[in-house]
């Protein structure tokens, strides 16, 4: 048997990819992130609608997102996430949260950015904590502070006066945040800063009850244009600017949907999905072997390769926080089995057909693989186009479904190019003609 170097190369790279994949997804329970409908928790979809008499701008929607991220971070739940869906919807996921009442109340609030004279805060424990965690001017982006008791501080100004807040640099080139405010704000700010400048008093910036920053006043600021400096990193400065910009929700935010799933129910659904998947694979494998005999075995191995590569990809995406396996995602995975087996069918049928026209096994295999993969690519691209449109535009469960389908199609093509194709060509070099009945390629008799 003569092995073409390209075939061998393809197989070697496939084995390498599979090993890499296995390392990426094993153990599966740890490496592949589970969605909330499987591991349990609170999942909320919110939509932003324009405030009365205003239009919903892209800017407003992205500010809503910033505020939601701020609030979600405030919950202190690990792996919490905010995801933009479609045009104006957001999916907020809080794993493990079972008492949804408080979380829901907080997420949908209109939002409040406040400026507080630190000396007016009566909650001493918090002041001490803030003193420790928030050195003058340092952003609280990375820290989680307890929510302030609303009776224990008094704001002298709210976020509505802020007209602009952006990241800039101070005179020595360190990141800083520049803030401008409207007329009313300028006046109040002038009074407060004049009073605090002498003692270098701190102004605490509070978003939705959480202290975010407490810069010390250096001089009286009478024109409203304020520069907040400190030992920021660029990211911290950006975070603070976002806080200042966001303040009040620039849109009406409504809760569209909230699901609390207990961990037991999720586990049960996952098991049912796994059983359905295994049964599906087993039936497909049986069918392929019964119909295509030896070539059916090839396709079963290619299904295995497909499965391993698929899981590996999902493992990598999980680590990048770009994927979580949901029930619709499982449905997408199971349907992917069909897509993967289809490619094998196209190759085998074309091979039989070419052999029947009287070609040698070798040249039939070469031409069959090329034609079938071309057909498969065209068919796949059409599926891909619609899956991508669904993923980008739709909201709700369809996205998880579309996402696994997209990956499935790509991985299937890789498996066909690196395994089913090369192996079919290699078998045609001689193995097939030794037992044509076993390989199901006996043909060449019924030419019509």
């Amino acid at each position: 048997m003569k092995f073409k170097p390209t075939n061998t190369l393809a197989l070697v790279s496939l084995v390498a990819l599979m090993a890499l994949s296995a390392w990426q997804f094993w153990p599966i329970g740890e490496k592949i992130t589970q969605g909330l409908d499987i591991k349990g928790g609170l999942s909320v979809t919110l939509t932003a609608e324009p405030l009365s008499g205003a239009e919903l701008t892209e800017d407003a929607v992205s500010r809503v997102e910033t505020i939601l991220v701020e609030r979600v971070n405030g919950f202190g739940v690990s792996e919490a996430s905010v995801q933009r869906q479609g045009q104006n919807a957001f999916l907020v996921q809080l794993p493990g949260v079972q008492n949804a009442e408080d979380a829901l109340k907080l997420l949908g609030e209109p939002g409040k950015l406040e400026f507080v004279d630190l000396t007016s805060v009566t909650d001493t424990a918090t002041i001490e904590l803030i003193g420790r965690q928030l050195d003058a001017g340092q952003s609280a982006e990375t820290t989680t502070l307890p929510k302030l008791d609303e009776n224990m501080y008094e704001a002298f100004m709210t976020g509505e006066v802020i007209t602009d807040a952006r990241v800039t640099t101070d005179e020595v080139g360190n990141p800083a945040v520049s803030v401008s405010m409207d007329k009313q704000g300028t006046q109040v700010w002038g009074e407060v800063t004049s009073r605090l400048a002498a003692s270098r008093g701190q102004v605490m910036i509070v978003l939705d009850g959480h202290a975010k920053s407490a810069p010390a006043v250096q001089t009286a600021i009478l024109d409203g244009n304020t520069l907040i400096t400190g030992s920021f990193t660029v990211d911290e400065a950006r975070g603070l600017a976002a806080v200042l910009q966001s303040g009040a929700m620039p849109a009406q935010v409504g809760i569209d949907e909230a699901r609390v799933v207990g961990p037991t129910l999720g586990k049960e659904s996952l098991n049912q999905g796994l059983i359905a998947g295994l049964v599906g694979v087993a039936l497909v494998a049986l069918f392929m072997i019964a119909y295509y005999r030896g070539l059916g075995l090839v396709s079963v191995v290619s299904l295995l390769a497909y499965g391993v590569l698929m899981m590996g990809t999902l493992g990598i995406l999980s680590r990048m926080n770009a994927f979580a396996l949901t029930l619709p995602g499982i449905a997408g995975l199971i349907l992917g089995i069909g897509v993967a087996a289809d490619t094998s069918i196209l190759i085998f049928e074309r091979l039989k057909e070419e052999i029947e026209t009287g070609k040698t096994h070798r040249s039939a295999a070469k031409s069959a693989v090329r034609h079938a993969i071309m057909t498969s690519i065209d068919a796949d691209i059409v599926t891909l186009v619609s899956a991508i449109a669904l993923y980008a535009l739709a909201i709700g469960p369809v996205r998880g479904f579309a996402f696994t389908l997209i990956i499935g199609i790509v991985v299937d093509l890789i498996a066909a190019l690196l395994f089913t194709g090369p192996v079919t060509r290699m078998l045609a070099e001689g193995t097939m003609s030794k037992a044509p009945a076993f390989w199901g390629v006996k043909g060449g008799v019924t030419r019509g």
Binding site: D256, A258, G262, A276, M288, L335, E349, V382, L390
Partner: protein
């Protein structure tokens, strides 16, 4: 060269009549019976009360009433096999629904349990539908463009027509069976889009291959020949797509079955419409071109001799 010959195109009038009847029936069912929308579209709350073996439906209803849930008279309280209740109420305020769950579980003296509560606001269904319609329009447009560029615009229009036919039939089955439509159903219907085209592309690929330098037979006969050549491919790819879906339908849980039901019907309709609708329509359209008109006249004359 084909082993078993079947005159698919000769049966095209039957196929057209069948498709026409199915589509009309579906549309009538949609208009007359309409779709049954689940809690996801109507808004409301669905909660699971576990370990409620010796609690009666009436007690659950009373507990709901006490917890301040609106319109409890119309709440559906459904016992499950394992001694739980699935309760659906009209409560659309998320926070209140959570509170009600805790209160109901306590007043019924249920064992400590995980909360499984879903609340859907009245706008959710509309948002899902709007976004889905947008996604549908964009993907149809993208598919039309791609097939037009890669193949031919006549193929793209007949393929998309077959696709719409499949979708209408799926919705029709939902209307007739009265099965609840959920966002998952919409998701499945939209995904049929891609799958439905898979086998259409396989058949069209072969028709295009055979159409190059066609002189020996009419376009319609060549289409028939092409379908016969790829018949096993068409049948087997269709079967292989349906098998995992059926596994999902029989073994998956509630959510997964939702997908599977719509997908299964869609896939079957899709496999049929490739041969019964897309291919003959395309051939009929092509035969209007002067080149193929001539071929048609030539071979029809021969056949009648």
């Amino acid at each position: 060269m084909a082993k078993t010959r079947f005159d698919f195109m000769g049966k095209r009038k039957f196929f057209f009549a069948l498709s026409g009847a199915l589509v009309v029936l579906s549309i009538v069912a949609l208009l007359v019976r309409g779709l049954t929308f689940g809690v996801d579209f109507e808004g409301g709350t669905s909660m699971m009360l576990a370990g409620a073996g010796d609690v009666t439906t009436e007690e659950v209803r009373a507990a709901l009433e006490e917890a301040g849930v609106p319109d409890t008279a119309n709440a559906t309280i459904q016992p499950t096999d394992d001694g739980s209740y699935i309760v659906r109420t009209a409560e659309s305020d998320t926070a209140k629904a959570q509170a009600a769950f805790a209160q109901v579980a306590e007043s019924l003296g249920l064992p400590e349990q995980d909360a499984n509560v879903t609340t859907i606001g009245p706008g959710w269904g509309k948002n899902v539908t709007d976004a889905s319609v947008l996604a549908l329009i964009v993907s149809l447009a993208a598919i039309l463009v791609y097939i037009s560029i890669r193949f031919e615009y006549k193929m793209s229009f007949t393929a998309v027509l077959a696709l719409l036919h499949d979708m209408v039939i799926v919705l029709g089955v939902y209307a007739i069976s009265g099965r609840e439509v959920t966002p998952n159903t919409i998701a499945a219907v939209l995904t049929i889009l891609g799958y439905s085209l898979y086998d259409t592309i396989v058949v069209f690929h072969r028709i295009r291959e055979n159409a190059a330098g066609l002189t020996k037979m009419s376009f319609m006969d060549m289409t028939n020949e092409s379908i016969n050549q790829v018949a096993m491919r068409w049948l087997n790819t269709g079967l292989i797509q349906v098998i995992p879906v059926l596994a999902l339908l029989f073994f998956g849980g509630e959510t997964l079955q939702d997908f599977a039901f719509a997908m299964a019907i869609g896939l079957i309709a899709a496999a049929y419409s490739t041969v019964g609708l897309a291919s003959p329509l395309y051939a009929l359209w092509k035969e209007r071109e002067p080149k193929f008109q001539a071929l048609k006249r030539k071979y029809e004359a021969q056949a009648s001799k």
